[in-house]
Symmetry: C2
Subunit: 177 residues, 2 copies
């Protein structure tokens, strides 16, 4: 159902700026949050910079375990995505409550999210900016994609419940990587 | 034609992950590049983190002048966006060659790009990560938006000439900012 994606292709998942899920595991307790403040920082090994507020339960778990999974939802998951963003893992088992399926990852203890069309296993590469900016630099160590997902419609967050869906694919000859 | 946008609203322009233009001015020589590796880092004052390769002419100008304008193009500008990404300001006057109109900004010497539906005037806030990651932290000091642009269709880059257009707006009740 999923296949390994070369790490050199990871930037193509995150560069378009989708809303993503960040899954963590503290011992065996899985949790997941939504995130839109992220950017690619290097092609290979892929480095991903992201801001996670200290108010999020994931902040503590990520700092403690030093690893997470970034899952990329498609438009059909938008109601689940909003629900994930509107409750906290401190008092809620979000996987169970919202109907998400954790799958074992290969390089980290955090789970893959089965419903996402792609999942990226990450380890913290640099936590020096966490104190000042809540900014984590993650290194992708393994990535997975649903080979049947062609031009998946991804979700972008524009604040205050406003979302847009990437609904139209365009190919233009370009020298850009 | 354009109106001032409160700085507290700037995150709503960048959080969805559009391809943006970065305009700079070295003395009176305007230049512009495309960028997709950016993230919001703080709501207000708005901080924007972005990676600009040292191979780009903009890298040198931004480091020297410490300011730039981030312009956000709409889907109808996609051919211009690709052209901007496929030539260099070292040997090309991109505004003239590609047909872009520079407008004076209010707080920086870099120009606004008239064809963009929104423009954000920025100054470098933190250049400490430039050496290691080519990562600039910018502070938005003034923002402008075309008040007629409702649900503008923005462009996302998925690598290798693959773009998607945010073509569908969705509003869902959410507690998320």
């Amino acid at each position: 159902m999923i296949k390994s994606l070369p790490l050199s292709e990871v930037y193509r998942l995150l560069e378009p700026g989708p809303v993503v899920l960040v899954a963590t595991a503290d011992k065996n307790k899985n949790n997941v949050m939504t995130m839109s403040w992220h950017t690619m920082m290097e092609f290979e090994p892929p480095l991903i910079g992201c801001v996670i507020s200290g108010r999020n339960h994931t902040f503590d778990t990520l700092l403690k375990t030093k690893e997470c999974v970034i899952g990329i939802p498609t438009a059909k998951m938008i109601d689940k995505v909003v629900k994930i963003g509107n409750c906290s893992g401190r008092d809620t088992d979000k996987f169970k409550k919202i109907g998400l399926t954790p799958l074992p990852a290969s390089r980290v203890k955090a789970p893959l999210v089965k419903e996402c069309y792609a999942n990226i296993e990450c380890k913290i590469s640099d936590a020096n900016l966490v104190g000042k900016y809540n900014f984590f630099i993650l290194k992708a160590v393994k990535a997975w994609i649903d080979p049947k997902a062609k031009n998946p419609k991804i979700i972008h967050h524009g604040g205050k419940g406003n979302f847009t869906i990437s609904d139209k694919a365009v190919k233009i000859a370009s020298k850009m990587k």
